[in-house]
Amino acid sequence: MFADPAIWRFFGDGLVQTLALSVVSVVLSFPVGLAFALGRLSSRRWIRWPATAYVEAIRALPVLLLIVYFGIKGSSLFRPIFGADFELPRFWAGVLGLSLYTSAVLAEIIRAGILTLPRGQTEASRALGLSYPQTMRFVVLPQALRLMVPAMMGQLTTVIKDTSLVGTIGVFDLLRQGRTIYTQFFNPIEVLLIVATIYFVICFVLSQLSRRLELGSVTREAKIRMTELELRDQAA
């Protein structure tokens, strides 16, 4: 059966869904994560506290819980806005669950990156007359974001692995396509090995790349902090 190109097209369709989900989720999470990272660093308590609560609560939850919730409840959440017969496409329910989680993780990575920079940089910029937003935009973020590139690539591999959970809410991603195939042909071992190999090749290449990419010099403490973040937010 593996000689049949139709089978491989079937895997290919799944792979496209998996990659699309990962990219869309990461792209959507980044601005949200940045906003919450800045919120957590804000000197105003009414911004800092809700931002902290959001990040800490979402990071403490299983990503599958968020995905299943939006899979079941997603449509009715948006009905007050889009009308009574609105159906949230499953793809976007998956994106919503993944992005919610990823945005909280990215917020922590960005915050760690910002805190890594020596305080003197911020103080010097402020003393030179730059406003807080200007300091962030022209001094802190350009350096901090460069430090974070490896950690963010690491997070991308986690997101790719996490997309395998959307099969539970009926998105036909790589794993779900594989499940359809092995239910048909009753060969779960071969099919799951193929699926695992595809995930492995993508994630292994990305994680090797992220190890090679060391832009700017990172202190040892910052490196420890980043690794621990990665460990904690490692979902499936």
């Binding site: 800490e56 794993l175 071992i189 492995f200 490692q234």
Partner: protein
């Protein structure tokens, strides 16, 4: 009151919570044992042993846990290993093995980092003082490693608690599965998932506070 639905279906919610706790605890023990063994393989002086350790770590870290769970659940019975899908005990066993294998790979990396973090001079000094490889490992390297690896291992434990929710995809009636069952019976998705959320937070937030405390106390910057 949020969470009140837990008392309408106590068997499902608290039974599910208990399974989540059991799977987390057993999975963590399995991951620690396996991970430490693999870490020792990875610093072994024998090259093929190192390669096997490295292959294990890279494979299990770079494939999704659900794929591994499906493989254990469906594949192993076909290979003649008896995690057959007929009884609940067997599903739970497959989930346990999956948790230990996946998180063991992360534990191995952390422990290896801890072992390599010990100054080479100390190891050379111990060897030249006449301690054997095993003695050096036990008396010099491991005690220092232990201190360095506790906080990152705590982070893996938190990830493990969250990841046990994936066992619901192969049929373990854990906390998440309980919420799904209650939702399908009552159609009160909001309440059911809020309750599961609160119960998960009750597990992971205190664990996170403990880990943060340990981090502050034990962080050694060499």
């Amino acid at each position: 009151m949020p969470g009140a639905i837990a008392f309408e279906f106590p068997d499902l919610f608290f039974g599910g919570l208990w399974l989540t706790v059991q799977l987390s605890g057993l999975g963590l023990i399995g991951a620690l044992v396996l991970g430490t063994a693999v870490a020792l393989m990875r610093v072994s002086p024998i090259a093929p042993v190192r390669w096997v350790g490295a292959a294990y770590v890279e494979f299990f870290r770079n494939t999704p846990l659900v794929v591994q769970l499906f493989f254990l659940f469906l594949g192993l019975p076909l290979l003649g290993l008896r995690f057959a899908s007929d009884t609940f005990d067997n599903i739970f066993r497959a989930a346990f093995v999956g948790m230990a294998l996946y998180h063991g790979a992360y534990v191995a990396e952390v422990v290896r980092g801890g072992l390599l973090g010990v100054d080479r001079g100390q190891i050379e000094a111990a060897r030249s003082l006449g301690l054997s490889y095993a003695q050096t490992l036990r008396e010099v390297q491991l005690p220092q490693t232990f201190r360095a690896v506790i906080p990152p291992l705590g982070n893996i434990a938190i990830a493990l608690v969250k990841n046990t929710s994936l066992a619901s995809t192969i049929g373990v009636t854990d906390l998440l599965f309980a919420a799904e069952i209650v939702e399908s019976r009552t159609f009160r998705a909001g309440e059911a998932f809020l309750t599961a959320t609160l119960l998960y937070l009750a597990l992971t937030i205190p664990l996170g506070l403990v880990v943060n405390g340990l981090e502050r106390r034990l962080l050694v910057v060499r």
